[in-house]
Symmetry: C2
Subunit: 295 residues, 2 copies
């Protein structure tokens, strides 16, 4: 067994992602010798102790981070500015502050200026998650063979970056470094826009008159069901992601809406070639994914 | 073992759905004593014989239906008018003509007027299918516990309707009768619109500049992947569905685009409540589906 990477890991927020990291740390012992968890509600903390996935829980994030050599923000990205302000005075010199948020420019904007001298800030984003949330939903294989993107600002201590990379490798993830703005554009199209669309179509269906609406549920298996799975995710987390990746998301959404309008026009005017071409491209992309073993 | 329902079943088109019906008929023997398959290409027919899923193959649909007491159209709905014209003179008196198309008003419009006196026309739509296509892709459990919707026009012989219902029950399906226009509206929202959106977003991603585009595939697991699965379906089949359910599809698409625009506006102006409410509705619908055991 390898030596634990950190003496004490403080998880600020312990939902789907945080509790998966906690489980991995507790199970293998190679990430941190001690895990401290903080959460917004006492109920969550009580549950964390019941589950036995942390050594200690602290309602107050400042107390949670005191003496930790690694602090990981695992809360919705909209809370990061307040959390950073609350923990900054308590961060130990030489500690590494990292996070798991889906939007990286906003995290650097909100957290970066509050990081004390001598603390290393390494923003990260494990591309993993299911539609479930809360401390009960985590599991040790969540990050296995998934990507974790690191977006350290220029000048970040390379040893700190490498230690966070190693943490995620020990969780089973593959590592890639990326510019924060590039990260936000890629995530806008591969994740944020698909989620926005899935939420929207569920709303569109839910607005139908009563008879059709009941039948939407009854006959959902025909395609709609896959959208509802994506749409079952945590509301506050997704609200925060949309608002904190506004520009890239609105750009991708505008492109998509233009394309959907063009498709509507092709359907209205019976443009067979256009429709076939679009459907063929979907197929081609799926084939590429299968070749890349991402499907 | 029950007596076969039909003496001879002619399948016009033998792709994913047709070859699944053929396999069920050959395996259990309770649907038809003899299965004749027709397809557009000799290659498909050769493959059908290799697979051993039909007793006989006929390139010419007229020859295929001669002497059959049940004829099932299993080709893309855009071919139905031509197919109906080709087979009409060869249909046996008392035979039942049915289909599996995803659009029912167009099928009744295209096929209905060509059905000879004494032949019973029972439009049907099994809500089943995967993203795969072709005679190799069928399997005997495809319809198990799935709905099959029957949309017989007023005045259809009730014995004929019941025999088609029984055919699908023997395939494992559950039966529901529906008005054709209501069918087309429900399918527009549960199936046709989700597919159109999935094809569209694949195109939007494929149009991105080269660097982001490569990364779309690399990081697809974050939501986009589920759309590509839906988008991997047969191009001609879907083109025909869109063009043959034009009005209902355009109405649902217009509703969706309004909702997506409203979501864009909420993201732009930071309307937290609106976004949370939409995400919460997605969750609620997913929960309803799970309660209905459709998920």
């Amino acid at each position: 067994m390898a030596e634990p990477l950190f003496r004490r890991l403080a998880l600020i927020g312990i939902g789907h992602i945080g509790s998966s990291v906690a489980r991995i740390a507790r199970e293998g012992g190679e990430i941190a010798a001690e895990v401290v968890a903080s959460a917004r509600t006492q109920k969550t903390l009580d549950r964390v102790m019941e589950l036995g996935i942390a050594d200690r829980v602290e309602r107050d994030p400042g107390r949670a981070v005191a003496g930790a050599d690694c602090v990981m923000l695992c809360a919705p990205v909209g809370t990061y500015a307040d959390l950073a302000a609350a923990i900054a005075p308590h961060l130990a010199p030489g500690a590494i502050l990292t996070d798991v948020g889906s939007t990286k420019q906003s995290v650097i904007r909100d957290v970066g200026p509050l990081v004390p001298e001598g603390v290393h800030f390494v923003p990260a984003h494990p591309l993993a998650g299911t539609e479930y949330s809360g401390p009960d939903s985590g599991f040790v294989s969540l990050f296995r063979d998934r990507w974790c993107l690191l977006t350290p600002p220029p000048g970040t201590d390379e040893d700190a970056v490498e230690r966070i990379a190693e943490l995620w490798r020990r969780c089973g993830a593959m590592i890639e470094r990326m510019e924060p703005n590039h990260h936000d554009r890629v995530l806008a199209i591969v994740s944020h826009l698909p989620h926005l669309i899935a939420f929207t179509i569920c709303g569109t269906a839910d607005d139908l008159a009563d008879e059709s609406r009941g039948q939407v549920l009854k006959f959902a298996a025909s395609g709609f069901r896959d959208f509802t799975r994506i749409a079952a995710s945590d509301p506050v987390m997704w609200r925060d992601i949309f608002l904190n990746n506004r520009e890239a998301l609105l750009e991708m959404l505008a492109r998509f809406l233009e394309d959907a309008q063009a498709m509507a026009r092709a359907v209205r005017w019976g443009d067979e070639r256009y429709i076939e071409d679009k459907v063929e491209r979907g197929r081609k992309i799926r084939r590429s994914l299968i070749e890349l073993r991402q499907a």
